[in-house]
């Protein structure tokens, strides 16, 4: 399985990269981590005419943490973001989800921004971006623009990027003081694409006694990440009580999600998982939020 012939350039600046994309046209693809693109090329399922290799753009390998966002540059590898304790403190969901992305060798090379652009509905990071309401900044010869998460994922493996655009960074909102996150997924083998995965963001009342608001984002249940508002099913539910039943979210998930079946799982099973995992992830999120309020490490 060898790739078909392809042209290649390795720009030294974002401007050069963007210029290359503009002149090469839609048959050019950006090569960053390559963990998704290269196997597709080896299988000859992808036959780009030209690759624009951005691995020299080391200035894009940053992780910036501000009061509002964790901002990740296009060349930041999954492994780097996972290892960042500062990022982990500012937005714990990032590390929690990243730990489920493939295996370490893939994470050493694959980029988080790249996985967002790849827009695999079974990917963890698109769901995280969607849940947190993050955004992606893209550059082109026509200037920069910011695409909000809600507008970013158009379909399976289809992002809102134009062919001449280069994604340069992604912004993940940080965790609010009275909030917590959870993440749960089930895959056939450890490290495989999830059969179903759920990321949850929950906020508690200021005194931490009950849930004020909650939302969940799902992977592998639709053509794009699906975000559900769980608030109705959990509002005012007690937060400190481990025995509290959040069974209502299972109902909600079952009602609103329409997953499909494939060789690994039936649609009904996916729906079952969605419900179960929503509850599990919600529990994690509530406990994390309670601990955060209680002054514990989050």
């Amino acid at each position: 399985m060898k790739p078909s012939p392809v042209g290649y350039s390795r720009p030294h600046s974002v401007a050069e990269a963007v210029q290359a994309l503009a002149s090469l046209g839609p048959e050019a693809k950006v090569l960053a981590g390559g963990q998704s693109l290269v196997p597709l090329m080896s299988l000859r399922l992808a036959r780009p005419e030209h690759l624009v290799d951005i691995n020299r753009l080391t200035e894009l390998g940053y992780i910036d943490i501000s009061g509002s966002n964790v901002t990740v540059g296009a060349l930041t590898r999954h492994a780097g973001l996972l290892a960042s304790t500062a990022a982990g403190r500012a937005q714990p969901l990032l590390a929690h989800a990243l730990r489920c992305v493939a295996h370490p060798a893939i994470r050493n090379r694959g980029t988080t921004v790249g996985s967002l652009v790849h827009a695999d509905p079974a990917g963890e990071m698109p769901a995280v971006l969607a849940l947190l309401g993050g955004s992606v900044r893209v550059a082109s010869g026509r200037g920069d623009r910011v695409i909000e998460a809600a507008d970013f994922f158009l379909g399976p493996l289809e992002s809102a990027l134009e062919p001449d655009e280069l994604a340069v960074e992604a912004r993940f909102p940080v965790l609010a003081p009275a909030a917590g996150t959870g993440f749960a997924e089930v895959s056939r083998r450890r490290g495989d694409y999830a059969i179903c995965g759920v990321a949850v963001l929950a906020s508690l009342t200021d005194d931490g006694s009950s849930i004020r608001q909650a939302a969940a984002a799902y992977l592998s249940v639709g053509p794009v990440p699906v975000v559900l508002d769980l608030t109705d099913a959990v509002a005012a539910q007690p937060a400190g009580d481990r025995a509290a039943s959040y069974a209502g979210v299972r109902e909600l998930a079952a009602q609103h999600l329409r997953p499909e079946g494939d060789i690994h799982a039936t649609a009904a099973y996916r729906r079952q998982l969605a419900g179960v995992l929503t509850e599990r992830a919600l529990r994690q999120a509530v406990a994390a939020a309670a601990a955060r309020i209680g002054g514990g490490r989050s």
Binding site: M1, K2, P3, S4, P5, V6, G7, Y8, R10, L31, G34, Q35, V38, P39, M41, S42, L43, L51, D53, N55, A79, A102, H103, P104, A105, I106, N108, R109, R190, G191
Partner: protein, 172 residues
């Protein structure tokens, strides 16, 4: 490979400067094996799942079948051939595999050896869960993994015994 544009690739492989002239589509795995003649790195799937092709790129394990050689230009690569000492002494990881019967056909082994070498550098005293995590992304069809996990623990022991482990907190 005639007719295609060739690119100069300069790599440091196992401490030695090497060069190759390859088309852009040349996979790093093929470059290492056929252009540089280092056939110790094996190819099991060419879609990044089996890990047999794992090499260390600037010290970090990566799938060489998922990298284009041109993309690795200027990088530092360690393959299985670079794990033993200059005088031929086996590294603790290699030694452990021999002691623990951690290999049978040996095809997946180079990928495990490089992966564990880097893994123990980052975490010299893995507990059982961490040892499994360390080898969790490589496939083996022969051993059923039992002796591979044992090899990780033994390698950690041998590294400590040889005084090779970095002190906790010290730079690796």
């Amino acid at each position: 490979m005639t007719g295609e544009e060739l690119h100069e690739v300069a790599l440091t492989v196992n401490g030695t400067a090497r060069t190759a002239r390859v088309p852009a589509r040349r996979l790093l795995s093929d470059c290492i094996r056929h252009d540089l003649g280092l056939t110790g790195t094996h190819v099991g799937c060419e879609h990044g799942v089996c890990g047999a092709c794992t090499v260390l790129l600037d010290g970090a394990p990566v799938r060489s079948c998922l990298l284009l050689a041109v993309s690795a230009d200027g990088c530092d690569i360690t393959t299985v051939e670079g794990l033993a000492a200059g005088d031929g002494t086996l590294s603790p990881v290699q030694q452990a595999f021999a002691e623990c019967h951690g290999l049978q056909c040996g095809f997946c082994t180079p990928g495990f050896l490089t992966t564990i070498t880097a893994g123990l550098k980052a975490n010299p005293e893995p507990d059982d869960e961490q040892a499994r995590e360390m080898v969790g992304g490589n496939l083996c069809r022969c051993t059923g993994y039992q002796n591979i996990v044992a090899s990780v623990h033994r390698a950690a022991e041998l590294t400590r015994a040889a005084g090779l482990a970095p002190r906790p907190g010290a730079p690796a």
